[in-house]
Symmetry: C2
Subunit: 222 residues, 2 copies
């Protein structure tokens, strides 16, 4: 037996999407039964259910499934936030995850109790959720420059201008689209589908898809 | 009240050093009181003491202090390993950290109950400690190419050939020393102390130190 109490073990998920062209987070209204801070907007999360969750990632997947009705297309562990004072209940530990969901997926799923909040205008959140969200945004930005991560914010088939727009929105940078096109194609993160986007007024642009099913990271060498 | 049991909350630390010119880990013999796997070599670690640890990082710091008698010069969270089956006791969660300690520091500290093991010849370890160590090695390698991380394996003042030797040892790559020197100086991760290493047979090489007190990461842009 320990002489001290076990920590409260939680997961919290920063859910990214694009809404009206802006990088946004999906926040959940804490329900009446969810003390403390019930009624407040917060990152979706909750305690790890050791009776049903196989591991913490499985707990985070359950949280997303409960909120969105879908398995998250991309879910990655961010960092574990812990300490004596971050939760008024007791010493607690939250394994934080972040997830990317295309806007189009959210249009097809009920998202009751969820609110879109632009990533650059997050309100005050309970616990240390502002710190968690800030780290998730920093991780997303950093990883955007050397991986295929941002393709998870797009539908399975997308055009290079669409990927470029998401890249500029997430990183807050302005990049020449010709240089961007050359880079993403040279790196082999995406590949042409052989099809073109139909229905536009201009010349139909080529469609691309993520190469492989998972995230591809670029090798960085000295 | 939860209807399920709280997870066992642990920290484990991968302790890196250089021993006989090789990247090595410091493993601890689990004591008699440490069930399960008592007597086995494992990553140093243990349960979070919610009565004395302020957060998980503080628990990891306590583990290093208990084993080495010193505060770890560099300690960073690696990943949280969790699940129903990784520990025979019950559903558990280990916040894993890695730490870098210069060989010279270990020469001045008693390290009873600790063993040096080369990073490329780690024996079978209990729990999922082999997976934790493998991820720590991968993180160290990856971060070596774009940060001042490896300087934490060296004494406060070092020569560029010493840093280059550690770089080649950790990354397993061969790099031209002139190109390496140019890169680390251009990046501004280290700075000359204005002193030279005394006592050698050859021309005394310039001494350098890490710039700033903490880790410096390079910006990577598209």
């Amino acid at each position: 037996m320990n002489r001290y109490e076990d920590p409260l073990a939680l997961v919290d998920v920063t859910l990214f999407t694009i809404q009206d062209g802006r990088l946004s987070l999906l926040l959940a209204t804490r329900k009446n039964a969810q003390e403390p801070y019930c009624g407040a907007l917060a990152l979706p999360g909750g305690t790890i259910h050791t009776d049903e969750d196989e591991d913490a990632q499985d707990a985070a997947r359950r949280v997303v499934r409960t909120k969105l009705g879908i398995d998250p297309p991309y879910l990655e562990q961010l960092y574990t936030f812990s300490g004596r004072t971050r939760d008024p209940r007791r010493w607690s530990l939250s394994v934080a995850y972040y997830s990317l969901v295309p806007e189009q997926v959210l249009e097809e799923t009920p998202i009751e109790g969820l609110e879109f909040v632009p990533a650059d205008a997050i309100p005050g959140l309970p616990f240390d959720h502002n710190a968690i969200a800030a780290m998730a945004i920093a991780r997303l930005r950093s990883k955007s420059t050397y991986s295929s991560l941002l393709t998870f914010l797009l539908p399975p088939e997308f055009t290079i201008p669409e990927l470029h727009a998401v890249y500029e929105q997430v990183t807050g940078s302005t990049t020449n689209i010709a240089a961007f096109r050359k880079k993403v194609l040279d790196e082999g993160m995406i590949e042409p589908t052989g099809q073109r986007r139909k229905g536009g007024q201009h010349r139909a642009p080529d469609l691309y898809r993520r190469r492989g099913t998972g995230l591809q990271e670029l090798k960085r060498t000295i």
